[in-house]
């Protein structure tokens, strides 16, 4: 199936839904790894919006990306609770372990605030991380 066909299939899946834009963008992001210019145009047309409207939404939310990044991603929580449990001290080594191969990003809170520092890879969560555990997690990502 071509990319265009798959895209219109996703859009069709949400027909009749109230406020369909975010669910569509989530599916497109999941399927293609990004919401690029062509996807924005197609979605805008289908929902009778301007491309600027769609672009405004895509660029507003942290979960949507305009460019494809094929690197594996490790999200580390650096909010207050994880800070109080020492996540900042782990970050220099984590950045070194990630290098250019792994995309190391910051997330504000995974809701595991009593057992931090925490990280997320895909839909898997990891808690009680120390230096070696976080480094291992990044190396295996």
């Amino acid at each position: 199936m071509s990319r265009e066909q798959r895209l219109s299939e996703i859009i069709a899946d949400h027909e009749g839904r109230e406020g369909p834009l975010l669910p569509i963008l989530h599916d497109v992001q999941e399927e293609f790894g990004c919401v690029d210019e062509n996807a924005e145009k197609a979605i805008a047309e289908a929902l009778n919006l301007s491309r600027a409207d769609v672009h405004g939404v895509v660029s507003f939310y942290h979960d949507f990306h305009q460019q494809l990044d094929t690197r594996p991603e490790v999200q580390v929580c650096r909010a207050e609770s994880c800070k109080s449990r020492g996540v900042e001290a782990l970050m220099p080594d984590a950045a070194r372990a990630a290098g250019k191969r792994v995309k190391l990003t910051t997330v504000y809170c995974l809701g595991l605030c009593s057992v931090g520092p925490n990280a997320r890879v895909g839909d898997r969560l990891h808690a009680r991380l120390d230096g070696p555990a976080l480094t291992k997690l990044i190396e295996n990502a």
């Binding site: 406020g19 975010l22 507003f60 207050e80 609770s81 800070k83 595991l112 009593s114």
Partner: protein, 504 residues
């Protein structure tokens, strides 16, 4: 065969519960995955015939099964951490399988909805009013008043929106509720629908909670026939903290940028798609089915102090020895919570500060630890209860850095609609940096003779602090929503109680 109960809460899973469950199955036991008791330092917690073992690893499996494990904690329900609590919202925590309709029914599920349908909208609202239930999202607005407004509004369609965008660091009660007792939330949403005449409900869950989204979607399908004609749809957020603000959440649901709306019009009159909408927090809606069950309103009303009625699920987080979920009536002090129940810091060092209410909550000094936990008492010391998350810091914490982070966080998460929040937060970061550097020197351009209107000197540290106070004042009163409006709380409280951390 031995029945082993292990939680499938995201926190237990992140601590290795899945591998542990697999190991028990391999050893020949039957494993039941339940909700979490909320004793997080013991996760993964293993329960066999009421007896607990934790924190367990795969290496402990044989010893636990033959009864020789050193990780035994005795009977879970008699554990002091559990026995001291008054659990209402979390009554089923640890005891039921989250997606088992049978378990939910056995523990009193659907009784509230059934009775609500018998007594009708007016009496439902009366009973919620009588219970004294206040919104658990942070502002503490009486739930029944909001419902009454929506019920009285005339429209072709009304909505119930559950705000499950729990983005505050140090809070996880919503997550535990959604993962451990998803039917309770759906029942509460359906009761709210019954009260105001809405047939459609949305639960907006943040994307950082994949487990909660998955469980709620499954639960909504399983109980669709029970709540019908009410329909409950689960929506996923997209990583914007500000969408926890109700009007920005509504914009997000409509498929727009999560920008805050000016109020009025109130969402109760013009909310989702311009229709009358109830927006309630997860914990508010989860308290509803207890209140609507026979005699529930009086029980609820009899708990708590002053105008803060009922119980509050308090979340003990951060650098704390015994972290987890502690539900109790209002009125408890931080001394009890942090030292007696929480056992002090996990690092064993002295407590320096406690942040109550997430990233927008004030830092509280140990000298204020005797203030009773209630909305009004906290307001009097310039603090807020918010979502009742408590993050503990030991004496290695640098409060200047934490104040700077509060501004940095606001800058990263601001929706950009109003100036005090969008610009003020960035200026706040710069100001705190300059304060910590000792003041502001003149820049090269400011020294050239042509700039004769410029002051002839830079600003001292004291002048910069005055400027920060001024900025905080502007943000507090000039911002559209709580993000910009409450960011001054952590900043000003840190500055007030730990000025030495700013003057280095």
């Amino acid at each position: 065969m031995t029945i082993v109960r292990i939680s499938d809460d995201a926190l237990a899973r992140a601590c290795g519960a899945d591998a542990l469950a697999a190991a028990f199955e391999k050893a020949g036991a039957t494993v039941e995955r339940t909700s979490s008791w909320g004793m997080h330092w013991l996760e993964p917690l293993v329960e066999i015939e009421g007896q607990g073992f934790g924190p367990a690893t795969v290496d402990d499996v044989d010893a636990i099964l033959d009864g020789s494990s050193g990780k035994a904690i005795g009977e879970i329900e008699k554990h002091p951490f559990i026995a001291r609590q008054q659990r209402l919202t979390f009554a089923r925590a640890g005891k039921s399988r989250p997606l088992s309709l049978e378990d939910y029914q056995k523990h009193g599920g659907w009784a509230g909805l059934k009775r609500a349908r018998q007594i009708g909208p007016e009496r439902i609202i009366e009973e919620v009013l009588e219970s004294g239930l206040r919104g658990r999202g942070g502002a503490g607005f009486p739930a029944a008043i909001k419902w009454k407004t929506v019920a009285a509004a005339v429209a072709d369609q009304k909505y119930i929106v559950c705000n499950a965008d729990e983005g505050d660091s140090g809070t996880f009660a919503d997550r535990m509720m959604m993962e451990g007792d998803p039917f309770a939330l759906i029942e509460g949403t359906a009761i709210a629908g019954e009260a105001v005449g809405a047939t459609k409900g949305f639960i907006y869950v943040r994307s950082e909670y994949p487990d909660a989204i998955d469980k709620l979607r499954k639960a909504a399908r399983l109980c669709a026939h029970i709540v019908a004609p009410f329909v409950c749809e689960i929506r996923m957020g997209a990583g914007a903290y500000v969408c926890g603000e109700e009007t920005s959440l509504l914009n997000s649901l409509e498929g727009k940028r999560g920008e805050v709306r000016a109020k009025p019009p109130l969402p109760a009159l013009k909310g989702l798609f311009g229709r009358p909408t109830v927006v309630n927090n997860v914990l508010t809606l989860c308290a509803v089915h207890h209140i609507l069950a026979e005699g529930g309103a009086q029980t609820y009303q009899s708990l708590g102090i002053d105008r803060s009625k009922g119980t509050m699920p308090i979340q003990l987080a951060g650098n704390i020895k015994y972290g987890g979920l502690y539900e109790t009536a209002f009125g408890i002090t931080l001394n009890e919570l942090v030292h007696e129940i929480g056992g002090g810091t996990a690092s064993g060092r002295p407590v320096k500060a406690v942040q109550v209410g997430g990233p927008l909550g004030a830092y509280i000094h140990p000298e204020q630890f005797d203030v009773p936990f209630d909305y009004e008492a906290y307001a009097r010391i310039d603090a807020l209860i918010g979502h009742a998350g408590i993050t503990v810091f030991d004496d290695t914490a640098d409060m200047g850095t934490m104040a700077r982070f509060a501004m940095e966080f606001c800058a990263a998460e601001s929706c950009g609609k109003c100036t005090p929040c969008r610009i003020g937060s960035t200026r706040g970061v710069e100001l705190i940096d300059r304060i910590r550097e000792g003041g502001r020197a003149l820049e090269a351009l400011e020294k050239v003779p042509q700039m004769h209107n410029m002051p002839r000197r830079g600003r001292t540290q004291d002048e910069e602090i005055e400027l920060l106070e001024d900025l905080c004042e502007t943000m507090k009163f000039g911002s559209l929503c709580a993000l910009g409006g409450f960011t001054p709380y952590p900043v000003m409280s840190a500055l007030k109680h730990w000025p030495e951390d700013f003057r280095k």
